[in-house]
């Protein structure tokens, strides 16, 4: 880039990951057509994602503060999603969140019980 960056690299989403997400979606939409992304457009995708994070976080933060809390929780973010009119995201997000929590619960249970499982298997 010929211009100096105002925002340091550390506070941007990695281009490789943004490219992967975009290409994956394009491949799902049109498996027969190979759609590519111009490099300027890729940078714009990165920037758009960053702006979206700010926009969503700020909205969630306002919702959190209205409830007189200091820590933004998942419900604040989900309400913020509706607030910014991306309602179609809510259901997939809830599904992902439920799956995430179940996975973490499982890991927790596994770690707590691992010694027991280990010894049971040895003695079986």
């Amino acid at each position: 880039m010929e211009t100096e960056k105002v925002v340091p690299e550390a506070e941007e989403l990695p281009k490789t990951i943004v490219r992967r997400v975009v290409k994956d979606k394009l491949h799902n939409c049109s498996p027969d057509t190979d759609i590519s992304v111009h490099k300027d457009a890729l940078l714009a995708f990165c920037e758009s994602a960053r702006i979206f994070i700010h926009y969503l976080s700020a909205t969630a933060n306002d919702i959190c503060k209205e409830s007189k809390r200091q820590t933004i929780n998942a419900e604040d973010v989900l309400k913020a999603i509706e607030e910014i009119d991306f309602t179609e995201f809510v259901d997939p997000l809830r599904d992902s969140l439920d799956g995430q929590l179940t996975f973490r619960n499982w890991i927790f249970i596994f770690c707590c019980n691992f010694p027991a499982f280990y010894f049971k298997r040895r003695n079986a």
């Binding site: 211009t3 100096e4 550390a10 941007e12 939409c29 300027d40 700010h54 926009y55 933004i72």
Partner: protein, 143 residues
């Protein structure tokens, strides 16, 4: 049991977004104090969904023009057509005819004339693009 965990692992912890990076970006807003890990996950996943949505709409715009490469102009079309997205993003997208400028530096000259009334609980996105006082001035090379 181990197989189930393996399945859930690939389904729920897809290595899409670096959560640490998302958190750093969020923390740039001084007003934001603490965030639960679930909230951080939802923000990351939302951003991924948003990117996928934007990609799809931009691709449609490109295909409409019989092209197979998404360009900036296609993204502008996609953003303009979706009101929730254009509310916060249209001003920040660079115009296709100029070289890609950082939206933070471009913000000062492309302010909309009419201020739209804000929905409850939101604030303008351009609050984030005020340069901090201790920042080194940006040097722009002339070609």
């Amino acid at each position: 049991m181990a197989e189930e965990a393996e399945e859930q692992n690939t389904e729920t912890t897809r290595p899409e977004f670096p959560v640490g990076r998302v958190k750093k970006i969020m923390k740039l807003d001084e007003d934001i104090n603490k965030v639960t890990s679930e909230a951080l996950f939802v923000v990351s996943r939302s951003t991924e969904l948003f990117l996928r949505f934007l990609a799809e709409k931009s691709a449609e715009a490109a295909i409409e023009k019989k092209r197979k490469t998404i360009k900036l102009g296609d993204m502008r079309v996609a953003v303009k057509m979706h009101r929730p997205t254009s509310d916060f993003l249209l001003d920040s997208l660079p115009l296709p005819i100029q070289s890609l400028d950082r939206p933070a530096t471009g913000k000062a000259r492309s302010r909309p004339a009419v201020e739209k009334p804000l929905p409850v609980g939101t604030r303008r996105i351009d609050r984030f693009f005020h340069k901090p006082e201790n920042e080194v001035p940006v040097e722009i090379e002339d070609d």
